[in-house]
Amino acid sequence: MKRDANLWVLCTLIIVLFGFGGVVSGGTYLSLFNLQSMAMQVPEIGLLAIGVMLAMCAGNGGIDLSGIANANLSGVASGIFTLSLFDASQDPMLFTIAFAAGCVVIGLLGGIFNGVIISRFGITPILGTLGTQMLFTGVAVVLSDGRSVTVGSPDPLYVIGNGLVFGIPTSFIIFILIGCLLGVILKYTPYGMRLMLTGANPKAAVYSGFPSGRIIITTYAISGLLAGIAGIIIAARNINVKWDYGSSYLLVAILIAVMAGVRPEGGYGRIITVILSAVVLQLLSSLLNFIGLSNFVRDLAWGVLLLCFLGVGRFDLINRILASLTSMRSPHVTK
């Protein structure tokens, strides 16, 4: 249970941030409204981070740089397509279902495309997803002519983005459900086990007869699917979709994955820590806002945080500190 240290650190951070935020803001930070608005902002970036995590777990330099581009493309393309077919004001339910289905299908196709070029053509994931990032963004620009597409806020779509169920934002519930589902898949299905083992030792995986091509395609397809769902949530929250939405999401998604203790070389990662890590980042971001610092400070903080957590992971600082703490308490414990 070595790496679980990340879980405890993240939990502690959440408590500390809540406490600090509550004190600094005089309570408004902990108000129901602020908690709800923070929870609404987590899902889109959290879904993309899970996608990055899965690609990293596959090992062999796996990474998915095309996530936000794919999300924007699915929002833009599905938006244009659905707007041309249905009238949102007359049949909001049908419109929402068609739009959501379109997003999911386009995201999934984008993900499968990533998986195919990586596994069948043997293109390095960095290069392949860099290329598709540009391709997806480019197609979104061409389709929308560089303008934003107004999806509008028909009722069911508005509920996905801004609605509350028992006081909890709908999008956050969707995010948690998807997280739980993926967590179960990773832990209890052969696919999950094979994914981690492939990432830990690709050569051994090949000799064990794992269908590596299928594993990689599945992984990137799931990542694309998540991007498509993120596309729905982005559209639902913002009314408009545009090709250049969330330009800093790429860094933030990777930052969340690294903070969650996902090994960039592959073979290890847990959904629960990714979710917690996304929450920590959102708490921190809102806190910086509350203190009144500019977005530039936030970007600087993200960069520093990423580098710090890389250092923490490299030198295994968490476990060392924990070990020194326990050895202080009881000198007989051996590591």
């Binding site: 043997g122 390095t124 860094l251 600087l300 890389l310 490299r314």
Partner: protein
């Protein structure tokens, strides 16, 4: 098996001109020199565009392309060096912006009389230091260079925007604008407009030659290829990985600082948000030039050809009637096609 008559003549014919061998040799041409593909593609595009729109083949548009390729070219030489060493650098736009904006601010506020040589030198020095930090971090943290440089990219840009400034500098120091305007040769085009090839264009060939010299005539160049090819083996052979990585990233940073100050001088303004998003185009150029993203290969000539290819594509789309919105699609498709082509080539040669 085919049995040949054993006369001298047929032997010669069969051994030299059998179609199989010939095909193999033609393929070998691509294998040793992947940049020939970029060259062919470049020629095809040039021919195609001049056919569709003859006004393209003017000296003025060639000068435009030469001018536009300087900054991308400097970036690309740096990225090529890092790629060859087995890393990747996407923080160079932030380095260029920080060096350029920092030095410009310093000159405007503190030292207005600073000679241009010193301005360029300090920008290069800032780039060099920031790049070396990248190298130290990549070596020390033992994580993919991509993730480290994503972090430093935000770090450097954050330092610039939080501590240095966020406003556009429209009034640049006169020595910098003079440097940007300083003309190497003036060419009068058919319609009477003079276009000038600026002196700063010379920086690109000089930097290209320096890079070529490092890679082909110094021990460091061999070490970079060795480390990029297989870091484990190179380490056992006694190469100092830390030194090689710090050098490669530092060199890339220095070139980025140089590119930044040239851009500021040429455009006569300093924009702290400049260069954001240029990294993909530059990496595309280097990859199109035949450098493998996993390291250990590539050439300076190929890199320059890749830069020309990307610059031409960015500049001619409008000339042939393709809307500029297609630019990303075309470059993205080029990246994927080039990557697929090089992978197929490697597989064939491995067989």
């Amino acid at each position: 098996m085919v049995v040949y008559k054993m006369t001298d003549k047929t032997m010669d014919n069969q051994s030299d001109f059998s179609p199989h061998l010939k095909r193999k040799r033609r393929f070998l041409l691509f294998q040793g020199r992947p940049e020939t593909v970029s060259l062919l593609l470049l020629i095809v595009i040039f021919a195609g565009v001049s056919f569709i729109n003859p006004s393209f083949l003017q000296i003025s548009s060639l000068v435009d392309i030469a001018r536009a390729s300087v900054v991308t070219g400097l970036f690309a030489l740096g990225v090529f060096t890092v790629l060859a060493a087995g890393g990747i650098d996407i923080s160079f736009p932030a380095i260029a912006a920080l060096a350029m904006y920092g030095v410009s601010t310093f000159v405007l506020d503190v030292f207005p009389e600073m000679p241009i040589a010193l301005i360029v030198f300090s920008s290069v020095l800032i780039g060099l230091i920031l790049g070396s930090v990248n190298g130290v971090l990549v070596h020390g943290l033992r994580v993919p260079a991509l993730i480290v440089t994503i972090g430093t990219q935000y770090f450097y840009r954050g330092i610039l925007l939080v501590f240095v400034g966020t406003v556009w500098l429209m009034e640049m120091p006169s020595q910098m604008t003079d440097f940007g305007k300083w003309s190497l040769l003036d060419i009068e085009s058919n319609n009477g407009v003079t276009v000038s090839l600026p002196v700063y264009f010379l920086v690109l060939p000089i930097a290209a030659f320096t890079t070529w010299f490092i890679f082909n005539r110094t021990l460091m160049g061999r070490a970079i290829f060795a480390v990029g090819g297989n870091a484990g083996v190179a380490e056992r052979l006694g190469y100092d990985l830390r030194k090689v990585r710090v050098f490669a990233f530092g060199y890339a940073g220095g070139l980025a600082g140089l590119a930044g100050i040239i851009q500021a001088s040429a455009n006569r303004m300093a924009n702290p948000f400049d260069f954001a998003g240029t990294e993909i185009g530059v990496i595309a150029a280097v990859v199109l030039g035949g450098a493998r993203i996993t390291g250990g290969t590539g050439s300076v000539i190929g890199t320059i050809l890749g830069v020309l290819l990307v610059t031409v594509v960015n500049n001619v789309l409008v000339l042939v009637g393709i809307p500029s919105t297609w630019q990303r699609v075309v470059v993205g498709a080029f990246i994927l096609l080039a990557a697929a082509f090089f992978v197929l080539r490697d597989r064939k040669s491995a067989r």
